[in-house]
Assembly symmetry: C2
Homo-oligomer: 238 residues x 2
Amino acid sequence: MPEIRAGEDLAERILEAAKKAGLRFEDGDVVAVAQKIVSKAEGAVIPLGTVKPSEKARGIAGELKKDARAIELVLQESRRILRSERVLITETKHGFVCANAGVDHSNVPGNDMVTLLPRDPDDSAEKLAKELSKRARKRIAVIVSDTFGRPWRLGLTNVAIGASGLPVLLDLRGTRDREGKPLTATVLAVADDLAAAAGLLMGKSEGTPVVIVRGYRYKPASEKAAQIIRPASEDLFR
Amino acid sequence: MPEIRAGEDLAERILEAAKKAGLRFEDGDVVAVAQKIVSKAEGAVIPLGTVKPSEKARGIAGELKKDARAIELVLQESRRILRSERVLITETKHGFVCANAGVDHSNVPGNDMVTLLPRDPDDSAEKLAKELSKRARKRIAVIVSDTFGRPWRLGLTNVAIGASGLPVLLDLRGTRDREGKPLTATVLAVADDLAAAAGLLMGKSEGTPVVIVRGYRYKPASEKAAQIIRPASEDLFR
């Protein structure tokens, strides 16, 4: 993929890159797209020079030894701060809990430029799925993925922050195991599993921000990745 | 795969099933194996009738409306209780944080039988990798996977609770992004991503407890899935 700039036609760039790689889309393909290029195409790229840090941002930046302008953006993108030790962990306006509210400087041209998360990643996924499906004339589902940390386990894994065209949660409650016993409490976060699978090929610095997952069987569905966000009332860790 | 019983030669059953499916192992294959059949082969199957619940277990069972004998096993398998609302979330003796300490009745023959997690899943993975590699005459890595819930996001995803022969955490710190900027704080939990990818094919009730992941490029390594467990001192959520 070439470097993606604001306003660019992401579907077209993906189709071109696929063609160049000798890949043809097939019905049912799940196209996983790194959040970073979605944000870039949507212009969610901010020069830190344009950001005026609030007093609160300057205070946190002093404690964490970070750039107050970046912290200001994190606060603007957040609904609530969960932790502010070593790193800021916040709940974003979307409801995601992640480091720095997704404000990130990696793989962004220029030293003082950061990307924000797409404003509505499910909407981004839906538009991209529609365009890819139309132009490739195949039924294509899309996942917008990002790497999140998690409590208790080290390392980042890719999760789905946006999705279109496929089930995001596979609810097996009511089905039976191979012994014939009903399965309880078994809802699989398949969109996250798909994002994780794609993440293995994306790496982080390799310029592979798009991965086609082929051969995964699913029933087309109009679910949103926002459905994966655990409602506050069900969150045992508040 | 056939039903696995205590003491069974798991490597042999996997080789037979692969042969039957017309699959030949290749160097670098990552064989993901569901915890359930590892536990069964190792005899970590407990008839609830043999368990005497303690007073504490009876108390919790009353509150949660669960079987006191199963709760007793959860307590025995745990180092600490994190939450006891609707479900018990504990830290197991291994250090995993999960529901019911991995004590599970699904896909176990008999109504009053449960499986525990393998005592040392990294050791289980290592032994299995050694046997598979020896008998197939290929270099085979193994991941023992289980489905865990997580805070903030709904649904279960597969994670690696045991591993042998491959890196579990891919540390990209010090490498550079495509803009030439050094990547910070970028450690990818690739063993968990591999487990998640395999989980998409395992399902939960389909009798597909073994998945071969092929084509993932990695440097053979003698890392353990236990390394993914976040040390208490680094856990922002204690």
